[in-house]
């Protein structure tokens, strides 16, 4: 029992750590690319603590319900990943969090959060099928959806599933709401929607949503580790490489509209995934 509790605590700490470092480095790296110094690494933590201590201002009480569910689902998905459960199950649980964030935004009357919510739904429409196909590819190669078996797979999946790796990186851009797919919300107000889906979440509720996002990013980055067998340095390098790629793309491209995004995901992403799936079958 204590071992189990300890395990969950380690999992939570790891998720938080990965999420914070990802967010912190992102801001530093982006600042340097734009010839700024940027904030300290732990700035995201300071931000969240500050938000959490503010007075709750409530636009629609259901937003509290939704923010709470979003965080709970994001944590549960990460813990299930850490416990080496079923890959598809982890995916379905994280979808609960993503959907409730949108539901909360739709509950508020502000057109900004409304449009942001619908764009977030379109972003989900773009990355969800891609993620499922990545998992299908892993299953076809290893014969299992269990993370236990996938983590123990002796051969580098990257060599057999290179296109699916790219597809997963594509999904990471959308999931991290990075340019060119920062339609629903973005730090830089590029999309002229204030903070899009997050507009009406404020104070402690925004802190909950922010922490949930850390866990979500940690989860997707975790998926990249599956592409390399245990013991290799690749297991660490692959997520880092994908992450760097996403930041680079973020700084090199400008925002696309949702039609273009959907076209990209369902055309290019799906095409790459199918080619790879046909080839390993």
């Amino acid at each position: 029992m204590t071992a189990g509790a300890l395990f969950v605590i380690v999992a939570l700490a790891a998720g938080l750590g990965i999420g914070v470092i990802s967010a912190g480095f992102d801001r530093i790296l982006t600042a340097r690319l734009q010839s700024r110094v940027g904030p300290p690494l732990l700035q995201p933590v300071y931000d969240v603590v500050k938000l959490a201590l503010k007075e709750p201002l409530i636009v629609n009480a259901w937003q509290a319900f939704c923010a709470c569910t979003t965080l709970a689902a994001a944590i549960l998905a990460w813990v299930l990943f850490f416990l080496q459960s079923d890959l598809l199950l982890v995916f379905f649980v994280q979808a609960v969090g993503a959907v409730f964030l949108v539901v909360g935004a739709l509950a508020a009357a502000s057109p900004y959060s409304h449009i942001g919510a619908h764009r977030e739904l379109l972003q989900m429409l773009a990355y969800e099928p891609l993620l499922i196909l990545v998992f299908i590819g892993m299953y076809l190669e290893t014969g299992s959806f269990r993370l236990e078996a996938l983590f123990a797979w002796p051969k580098p999946l990257l060599l057999r599933l290179p296109f699916l790796f790219l597809v997963l990186a594509f999904a990471l851009i959308v999931k991290m709401r990075k340019s060119p797919f920062d339609l629903s919300s973005c730090h830089h107000a590029h999309q002229e929607l204030v903070r899009g889906v997050l507009t009406d979440y404020s104070g402690p509720l925004l802190a909950l949503a922010e922490v949930a996002h850390w866990f979500e990013v940690a989860l997707i980055l975790g998926l990249f580790t599956l592409f390399w067998p245990d013991g290799g340095v690749g297991r660490f390098l692959l997520p880092v490489a994908a992450w760097l790629g996403v930041i680079a793309v973020d700084n090199l491209t400008s925002r696309a509209n949702w039609r273009w995004m959907l076209g990209c995901a369902w055309g290019l992403g799906l095409g790459l995934a199918i080619v790879n799936l046909v080839w390993i079958r």
Binding site: P56, I58, N60, W62, A105, L106, L125, Y139
Partner: protein, 641 residues
């Protein structure tokens, strides 16, 4: 008398008796109420009493053979005569031709081919049949109960006089009897009679309101389902020619010869009949048109009767599919239906239409599973069948209650529903959540379906795309239900007791069944379709495990319950916090959703959902999906020749 004989007699005959009584006593509201409640209660109890008894087979005693044969033949004649009469009355050529062909085929068959068909095949009640009997009897009866207050309101609203409710409830009960008969009888000839009886019932119910559009849509349902009826009749004749018997269990158990084309012709024809009954593309029109009827009719057609015939019968025939081209084609057609209907649902703002497309979509997924035909795929189909039936009944009944309250079925008009009817809004929200999220049964079925179809590349790609679209249209609806303005305090609205009974028991029932899913699988669901398979699921620590995956149902349910509790506490706290208006670029006026526009004029904020009709509208997609459906149908039928 034996509990088995007694139970079977009651579930099949009591609805017929109730229908007859409804015709006699139904004039008075209390008499009608008594008849419907008693019949429903008795049928429910009888169905439940069969729980520990399966599987069993009852032979019909020899003295009854001749009278039964005459009775079924007479019923056939009456049904086809009724169809011909309807066709003549409304001058509908398709109905006339299709009914005439059925009548001619049947006469030739009974008169020349099947003179020595032997005794009727009795009653077979295995796990699959019992599951369907339970769905029909329990969910169907609950729908009839809720229909009692609903129809009173309905007639008051449309000022119907004299009341046409006796007829309405008689047909509703008749429908339940026909379903139970179809599910339990084992003789193809009797199945055909019940099959046609459900067609007639759905025609009468869809046209119940007698408006121009109701009659038009009822006729459409009749001609489309007559295509299914003709396919069923031809399939029956082919099956008799190739297997030499009308006994379904025997015909399926008969050894299959290599390249035995006729056997496949029969299966393909039955497949066509099932696709029509389950409103798969290009036959979706009849089910979409059915929503003109009073909402309990939609609830009945979409959940426990009619469309489930197709899935049930294909599950029954599932042992005939492994390794055949027919199975492959069916998997493709099903997955296509899942994707196409989900895309069409995205383009709809009419709540009932979203529910209708979601039904077609889910049925497509079930067909895909039956086509894939591994043990786990069949189990996925069974789980989807069960949970979809219960949930869809609940969602239709909720939308019916909402519609009578706000006088609209448009999702846009359900903004702020939580303030107007909080409990119904909550139940609808629960329905949406149970449709798309773990650990609930529908998602368990979908999880199993994806894992089972993983090696069927075209199908699994379509399922992946369809799942994402499904999440989109449900999430949008959930958000709308909770949107502003909110009431200050939770006051459950007033609804008739029977409405709360139906909604509450269906909602709690789905949740309870979801938690119990692993044990349902262990307790008999796994035996449906075909018994032995390498990827059978075992129950480990309250979860389902197979060789390639695991779904921790019970632990996840506990986690979900904890999450729900925490979120509910957060909601409670937030309701007491300082309320602020939504963000409007700092231009708010004193009122929440009003901002200062040009010339300092107040402007009310308006936001509408995305329905993306340039991409997903019916006008845009219909030609493509009908074309795709027709191609795949040709594949199913043409592939066997």
């Amino acid at each position: 008398m034996d509990v088995r004989v007694c139970g079977i007699l009651v579930v099949v005959l009591a609805p017929f008796a109730g229908a007859a009584l409804c015709g006699i006593l139904g004039r008075s509201p209390s008499g009608r109420r008594a008849v419907v409640l008693t019949t429903g209660g008795v049928v429910m109890l009888a169905a439940l009493s069969l729980l520990g008894e399966v599987p069993f087979r009852l032979e019909i005693p020899a003295v009854l053979h001749a009278p039964l044969e005459i009775a079924f033949f007479a019923a056939d004649a009456v049904l086809l005569a009724a169809f011909l009469y309807i066709g003549a009355k409304y001058r509908h050529a398709a109905i006339l031709v299709l009914s005439f062909l059925q009548a001619a085929g049947l006469l030739v068959f009974k008169g020349f081919l099947a003179r020595s068909a032997g005794p009727p095949g009795g009653v077979v009640c295995d796990a699959l049949a019992l599951l369907l009997v339970l769905i029909v009897s329990v969910v169907g009866s609950l729908i009839c109960f809720q229909a009692l207050p609903y129809m009173d309101n309905h007639e008051r609203h449309y000022r119907v006089s004299p009341s046409r409710q006796p007829r309405f409830f008689a047909i509703l009960l008749l429908f339940l009897g026909a379903m139970n008969g179809f599910v339990l009888f084992n003789d193809l000839g009797s199945l055909y009679v019940f099959f046609e009886l459900t067609t007639l019932c759905s025609f009468l119910l869809i046209g119940h309101d007698r408006t121009h559009v109701a009659v038009k849509n009822a006729l459409r349902a009749l001609w489309m389902n007559s295509v299914g009826g003709l396919a069923f009749a031809l399939g029956m004749i082919e099956a008799y020619r190739s297997a030499g018997t009308l006994d379904l269990a025997q015909a399926l158990a008969a050894p299959r010869l290599e390249g035995d084309a006729i056997y496949f012709v029969a299966l393909a024809l039955f497949g066509l009949a099932c696709l029509v009954k389950s409103a798969q593309f290009p036959f979706q029109g009849w089910l979409l048109g059915a929503m003109v009827a009073p909402t309990p009719v939609s609830a009945l057609l979409h959940s426990s009767t009619m469309v489930k015939i197709g899935v049930y019968f294909l599950l029954r025939l599932a042992p005939g599919f492994p390794g055949t081209f027919l199975g492959q084609a069916l998997a493709l057609a099903g997955a296509f239906g899942f994707l196409a209907a989900a895309a069409l649902a995205v383009g709809q703002s009419n709540g009932k239409k979203v529910l209708a497309y979601s039904t077609i979509s889910n049925l497509g997924l079930m067909f895909a599973c039956i086509g894939v035909n591994t043990g786990s795929a069949l189990l996925a189909a069974t789980l989807l069948l069960t949970f979809h039936a219960v949930l869809k009944a609940m969602l239709f009944l909720s939308v019916g209650a909402i519609e009578q309250h706000i006088e609209s079925r448009d999702i846009e008009d359900m903004r702020g529903l939580y303030a107007a009817m909080p409990l119904t809004a909550m139940i609808t929200l629960a329905g949406v959540v149970m449709m798309i999220f773990p650990p609930f049964g529908v998602l368990l079925g979908k999880w199993m379906a994806i894992e089972a179809a993983a090696r069927h590349l075209p199908a699994v790609v379509m399922i992946a795309l369809g799942s994402a679209l499904t999440v989109l249209y449900w999430a949008r609806w959930a958000g709308t239900l909770l949107s502003d303005p909110l009431g200050t305090r939770f006051h459950a609205e007033r609804q008739p007791l029977l409405t709360w009974l139906a909604l509450g028991s269906l909602c709690l029932g789905t949740a309870a069944l979801s938690v119990a899913a692993p044990w349902l699988v262990e307790g008999g669901m796994a035996s449906i379709g075909q018994p032995a398979d390498e990827t059978a699921y075992t129950v480990v620590r309250g979860g389902l495990e197979s060789a390639s995956g695991s779904f921790a149902v019970l632990p996840l349910s506990l986690a979900a319950a904890c999450g729900l509790l925490l979120s509910a506490l957060a909601l409670r706290r937030a309701s007491r916090a300082r309320p602020v208006p939504p963000y409007l670029s700092g231009l708010q006026t004193g009122e929440a959703a009003v901002f200062r526009g040009p010339m300092q004029q107040p402007v009310r904020v308006a936001a509408r959902n995305y329905y993306l009709d340039t991409l997903f509208g019916e006008e845009r997609l219909n030609p493509w999906v009908n074309f795709g459906g027709a191609i795949l149908l040709t594949l199913i039928l043409g592939g066997v020749l």
